[in-house]
Each structure stands twice: as structure tokens, then as C-alpha cells.
Amino acid sequence: MEDLYREIILDHYRQPRNRHAIESPSCSADGSNPLCGDQVTVAVVVDGDRITEIGFSGQGCSISQASASMMTEYVRGRTVAEARAGVDAFQQMMTTGTVAGLEGFDDIDALVGVAKFPARVKCASLAWKTLEQALNEGGAPVTTPVTTDERNSNG
């Protein structure tokens, strides 16, 4: 069990970073896993090609909420291209079970254990997929439903 619930994950769950509303976001997206009830909203401010502010809200299991907290810590201050690369690296980690080695943010590696629990991968991936969706909206302040629930997506 300690493979899954590393102390750093519980720390992000209990004291989430960047869990706040964003005044006038450049773009945002809602994500949910209907089967388990995880829900995350991600809003970002993009200035030029850089993400200057990011905030999230939501409710759900410790994995989904800790992953959201870590994601925002990683993304804030990075370029949109770097954020997208982070999304890909995270998905890679969930698929292969080897640490992403995301530069400058070791906390995320604690989520590597999730790959051993297939039922929980969708929880960990939710915030990252939601971020990707927000960025795909091309800066327009729209909200689009995202799901990482395999029974509700075509993936």
C-alpha cells in the first residue's frame, strides 16, 4: 500500500498547492471520472507563451487531488510547450511504470507507484488530461468536459 500512498502524495492531498480560483483565466477545462466521482477544474493564465498563473478546484480521491496539486506546481511559470511535454511525460510514467524524471519537480515521481494499480491510473491522469484540454482550447475561456474513464471515452 505504501507503494501507492507515498507520504508526499498524502502531503499534497492534505495541503494542496494552487487550490484556488483564477480571476480572469486565459482558458480552463472541467474533468471528471463519473464512475468514481473524481472531479477537477483547471484554469490557467497564459502570457505570451508562458503559463503565469494556474489554479484548480475539485473533489475526489487522494490520488486525483494530489496529482492535480503536483501538476499545478510543475506547470506554473513554464511555457505552454513545456507543459504539454509534462503531460506526455506523465502519461508515459503511467503507462510504463518508470519515473518521468520531470526536471525540477521530483514530487511527481512519487506517483509512479500508481502505474501498478490499473484502476487508479485514471485518477492520477485526470488533472493532466484536463490541463491538456484547457490548453487545447487555444486561450478561449471555455470549459469542455474531459474524462479519463475508459468506459466513457473512446481512448
Binding site: M1, L4, Y5, L10, Y13, R14, P34, L35, C36, G37, D38, Q39, Q59, G60, C61, S62, I63, Q65, F117, R120, C123
Partner: protein
């Protein structure tokens, strides 16, 4: 010592000996990790199987396997006889007037859909009302929404009260002259609520409506007598009552089944076929197109023998005691809130709960490491979750082999969960 069965079915009644019962279920000896025995509390999802059922399944494939209703050879005759004997056991188990009124399907969902297609599409018209309830499983909601969109029927819901029981006063207003069908669960899979069929069925009958009961949770756990209930259709599944997956039952009154068109067309359901048209076989063959799930139906017969030998009154009494114990034990665990009726007389062996500050998914994951298997999520009853204003719940559900020791393990493990996640939201 054996006790005579009061229903005089020739079944020898066995005393309810929990230790002996548990020895019949090999999986209960399993360890989830070294030194961590399984505590199986997900019986509302599916039950475990006794050796008698597993043996019957392998015996059929080893000694009798052949297609039914076709060959003149010995194996085909034997298979047909075993399959039809299983049908007779099911009929007797729910006190159906006629064995032919038992239709083998895949599961409760297919049984409900069969009625939605073969009865409701033929006999219901625009503006006719189908009454269900807020505590239905999705399988008794979605077919009626589909019918509403296809036929323009009106779908009405009997609401749930905050204690998880149905609002019977509202039901008296909802069930009226336009009600053509009441399709209602006998026991909520999400909350365990035992529905007051003794009130609802007469209300529907007084309006001349047909009554279908979703018995997926009730038939495995309570004595069920379709004649005493005065209902028209009953749907349930073998796998929740010691039988194999892939077998469901639809029971219906012969007059209704006779008037219905077939559900699926193909082999075994016809009387004659020419290039222009076909004529239908009699009930039940009319509804059993194609080669049925012969082996699992026969093994289901062995499951019914097992339940008959214990007696459903004894099964219910054991589960009532376990549920009563669990309600009191869980209520004592700090942070636990239980949904649904708190009186074990009003609920089956299903307890949905939440633990303050811990998402159900996390509860389930930690309990698994202690060997305790529960279900977490919306339990295919999203309207119930909406009414309770929760995204999901944790659910422990019991069966005839569960013990108070296992309830204690659940309670102790929940305290560990709280310690582990302490400080979370």
C-alpha cells in the same frame, strides 16, 4: 439432523451451520496477501460459489454436454432433461404457477429489457405512464428512458425520502389511471432498502397496471413468492445467488408471455419457418432463441438446491442478524456515516457509508490491503447518489457465509483508514 421443508418440496432442510457453510466455499480460504485472509463483503455485486455449484458445472461438461431440444442421441436427451429440471427448480423457488413461465436470459438487465421490448413496445402507447422509483439500478431506468424516447411514454419516479425509503404518500399520487406499468426494485442495491411492495403493488393493481419487480437483490436474500406478491413479472440473476454468471431469469404470467412477440429471432424459438414468414414456438422457447447457456442454467439449479436446503427464511434471518450487528458496529466507528434505513428489519444486507475526510476510492484501496473486499462508487444508481448529494459511497454487502468476525475486521480496518488519511479533507 434434518428438518422437513414446510413447503413439502421433498427438499431436506439443513440446520444453518455457519462453519459448515463456509467450508463449502473454497474461495473463502483464499489469502489476498500472505497472512491476509479474504473478507468478501461485495455480495451485492456478485456472490461466491459453493463447491456443489462448481462441481455441477464441471460434471455437466464432463459427462453430459450436448445441445438441447434437438438430437435424439442420449447426451442431447440428458442435457435437455437437466436444463428443464433446472427450470422447474427456479419455478418452485419463487412459487411460479407454471414451470413454462420461467425464461432463461443472461441476467436481470436482459430480463428487464426483454419486457421493455417484447411487452411494453407492443402494449404501451404515447402518453401511457411507466412508474419506477428514484432508488432503481440503472438497468431499471435506462430501458424506460429508451422506450420514452422511442414511443412517447411518460416516465415517472416515486421519490426517495432522506432515510432511503420510498415516499409512499407521493406514490399514492403518482400511481394513477394513466399508470400502465409499475417497474420497481424489491431491494435497493445501493442502500439495501427493502421496498414496501405490500403497499405499492395493490396501488398499481387498483389502476389495472402491470407490475414488474426487479428482484436482483431480493431473490438471493429474501423468501420470494410471486403469487403472494400478486405481481406480473420478476427479473433476477443467478450470479448473485451462488450461481454462475451469464444466467438470468424472467418470470412472467403465462397470459402476458403468450400475448408478447418474441424478443430475438432465430433457432429454437420458431414453430415453422418458410421464405415468407415464421410462426413462434410456445413460451418459454419463444423467448430463448439460439443455443442457451445450458451448463450455467444447470449449475444454477444446484445453487437453488443449496439455498432450498438451508431455507430462505434462515438465510434472511442470518443476514438480518449480521446487518443489525454491522449497523451498530459501524455506527461506533468515528467518522462513519451510514446511508439508508438504520433498522435491519427494513433493509437487506447492504450498508452504504462514507468516512469523514476520505474518498470512497481510498477507503476501498486501503481495505483491500487488509483483505477486505467492498465496492466503492455510484453502484449504478446515480439518482440515489444525487439525492444523497455524494459523488460516491463505500458499500459493504453480506451473504449467508459472512460472520460477525468479518464485520469486526471491516470496522477495525476503517479505523486504520482514518488514521492513515487523518488530516485530509
Amino acid at each position: 439432523m434434518t428438518i422437513a421443508d414446510p413447503r413439502d418440496t421433498g427438499v431436506q432442510r439443513l440446520p444453518f451451520d455457519l462453519a459448515r457453510i463456509r467450508r463449502d466455499f473454497p474461495i473463502l480460504k483464499r489469502e489476498i496477501a500472505p497472512g491476509v485472509p479474504l473478507v468478501y463483503l461485495d455480495n451485492a455485486a456478485t456472490s461466491q460459489k459453493p463447491v456443489q455449484v462448481i462441481a455441477e458445472l464441471t460434471r455437466f461438461y464432463r459427462d453430459h454436454n450436448a445441445n438441447i431440444h434437438r438430437g435424439v442421441h442420449t447426451l442431447s436427451v440428458e442435457s435437455t432433461e437437466l436444463y428443464e429440471a433446472a427450470r422447474a427448480k427456479v419455478a418452485r423457488f419463487i412459487n411460479a404457477p407454471k414451470t413454462e413461465e420461467i425464461i432463461f436470459t443472461r441476467n436481470t438487465t436482459e430480463s428487464l429489457n426483454l419486457v421493455a421490448h417484447a411487452w411494453a413496445r407492443k402494449f404501451l402507447h404515447e402518453g401511457d405512464e411507466v412508474v419506477i422509483s428514484e432508488i432503481e439500478h440503472h438497468s431499471n431506468i435506462v430501458p424506460w428512458q429508451m422506450l420514452r424516447d422511442a414511443r412517447g411514454i411518460v416516465l415517472r419516479y416515486i421519490p426517495m425520502l432522506p432515510d432511503g425509503t420510498l415516499d409512499l404518500d407521493a406514490a399514492r399520487k403518482i400511481i394513477g389511471p394513466r399508470t400502465k406499468l409499475l417497474s420497481i426494485t424489491a431491494m435497493s442495491n445501493a442502500l439495501g432498502t427493502i421496498v414496501s411492495l405490500e403497499v405499492l403493488v395493490p396501488l398499481a393493481k387498483a389502476q389495472g397496471a402491470v407490475v414488474m419487480v426487479d428482484g436482483a437483490q431480493s431473490v438471493p436474500h429474501l423468501p420470494v413468492d410471486v403469487q403472494a406478491l400478486d405481481i406480473d413479472f420478476l427479473a433476477f440473476s443467478a450470479h448473485k445467488m451462488l450461481g454462475p454468471t451469464g444466467i438470468g431469469i424472467l418470470w412472467g404470467k403465462m397470459a402476458l408471455l403468450d400475448a408478447m412477440d418474441p424478443f430475438l429471432g432465430g433457432g429454437d424459438m420458431i414453430l415453422t419457418v418458410n421464405m415468407e414468414r415464421s410462426t413462434w414456438a410456445d413460451v418459454p422457447a419463444k423467448f430463448e432463441a439460439g443455443t442457451p447457456n445450458v451448463a450455467d442454467a444447470i449449475a444454477f439449479g444446484a445453487a437453488i438446491d443449496y439455498l432450498d436446503a438451508l431455507g430462505m427464511d434462515a438465510v434472511r434471518e442470518h443476514e438480518r442478524e449480521i446487518t443489525d450487528y454491522a449497523l451498530r458496529r459501524l455506527a461506533d466507528v468515528p467518522g462513519v456515516s451510514i446511508f439508508g434505513p438504520m433498522d435491519a428489519d427494513l433493509r437487506g444486507g447492504v450498508i452504504s457509508f462514507e468516512l469523514e475526510g476520505v474518498h470512497p476510492h481510498d477507503i476501498g484501496q486501503v481495505l483491500d490491503t487488509r483483505g477486505v473486499a467492498i465496492r466503492t462508487g455510484h453502484h449504478c444508481a446515480q439518482p440515489v447518489m444525487l439525492a444523497l448529494n455524494v459523488p460516491a459511497t463505500a458499500r459493504a454487502s453480506f451473504y449467508l457465509y459472512n460472520t460477525t468476525d468479518e464485520v469486526d475486521k471491516l470496522a477495525a480496518s476503517l479505523q486504520e483508514v482514518t488514521r492513515f488519511f487523518g488530516g485530509g479533507r
